[in-house]
Subunit: 215 residues, 2 copies
């Protein structure tokens, strides 16, 4: 099986010099981010929904209320959805307005969502998701109930049609501007998980939850 | 003019208790974020493009290469695009997997993009954008050229059809779980702009660029 995610649909038209199609890089970006934006249509109108996602092997997963648009919509009316996963990494300050940019990692993924209904597989996936959000936490939770499993819709798409766009470099100005007298460089965006804020109604003291690797 | 952005299209169906339609709150979220996700279609296929945005009064703006999909597409084939602007604020750790959630601020905005072609207005908007990205920087840059103005497509949509979803609170568990012996609370996401990394080709020293208020 090819490790390229390039197809006629996923091929990047603008800025192809920043485009990649390597599956391993796409996986890294998906795993490094918690949230994606799912694009779908209903009666010809486009909708974009921010959604938390996870990955298991070659499949990209999300969940929601079983009647939510981003779960039920593409099952009731199958279509190839478009999902963008992006992380802003920094601001690129050039010598001219035109060459200002951002450093970022982004994957645009296409696929027809498939509903997962097997109860055991649903629970296995929910645990994979929770292990992404807070490693090791699942075992300490009140066990999941049948009605909760039923109420939660789980979908996945195979990761085989996608593009990656990446920028991770200093400004690239018109060469004639390189000595223009203004500071030029990159302002990095720092993200970190803060100290857990305990639920005010909790009276006992327990070890705080682990933070994720992803943002 | 009404300050509510609610319409039949923007009305939130799932989780209406977290929905708002207040224009001032939508403006705050737009101004607090640098990046949005634009959903549009081409020949029935949906595309989602991460894009930097800004606001001027009642209008939401973005720019790109004049031939880029997110500028040229909705002008060539007018349609009501859907734009989501979201900021993840924290992870909500509940006592059961089901009640885990995220704290966030999100606006979903609908509108038909309008191309701005007036040269003076284009430059005025580019300055408003740069003032968002790095306040006070515009005056120090190599002045913008006619060909740069022409090559950059500028579009806007009026902010009059949108919904806001917000969550900013501790976990809400099933009451019967409130004494389950596990830590529960919120892990906040901290964002900050780091120290500017000077372009390696710059030999002179200049004052570094200001960081934005937005993330």
């Amino acid at each position: 099986m090819s490790d390229s995610l390039e197809t006629p649909l996923s091929k990047v038209k603008r800025g192809p010099n920043r485009a990649q199609y390597d599956k391993a890089t796409a996986f890294e970006i998906m795993d490094a981010s918690l949230m994606c934006h799912i694009g779908q249509t209903k009666n010809g109108q486009v909708f974009v929904t921010p959604t938390c996602h996870w990955r298991d092997g070659d499949y990209f997963y999300w969940h929601a209320h079983s009647k939510a648009r981003n779960v039920k919509g593409p099952i009731d009316e199958p279509e190839k959805v478009c999902i963008n996963i992006s992380l802003l990494d920094g601001l690129v300050m050039a010598r001219s307005a035109m060459h200002h940019s951002v450093n970022y990692r982004s994957v645009t993924l296409f696929g027809v969502p498939e509903l997962i209904e097997d109860k055991t597989e649903k629970v296995r996936q929910f645990k994979i998701f929770l292990d992404k959000v807070s490693p090791g936490r699942w075992e300490y939770l009140r066990p999941i109930s049948d009605s909760e499993i039923k109420a939660t819709g789980l979908v996945r798409i195979k990761i085989d049609e996608a593009s990656i766009k990446l920028r991770a470099e200093p400004p690239v100005d018109d060469p004639a501007d390189n000595d223009w007298p203004v500071w030029a460089g990159v302002i990095p965006l720092n993200r970190s998980w803060g100290e857990g804020e305990t639920d005010p109604i909790q009276s006992q003291t327990y070890p705080k939850a682990n933070s994720p690797e992803a943002f």
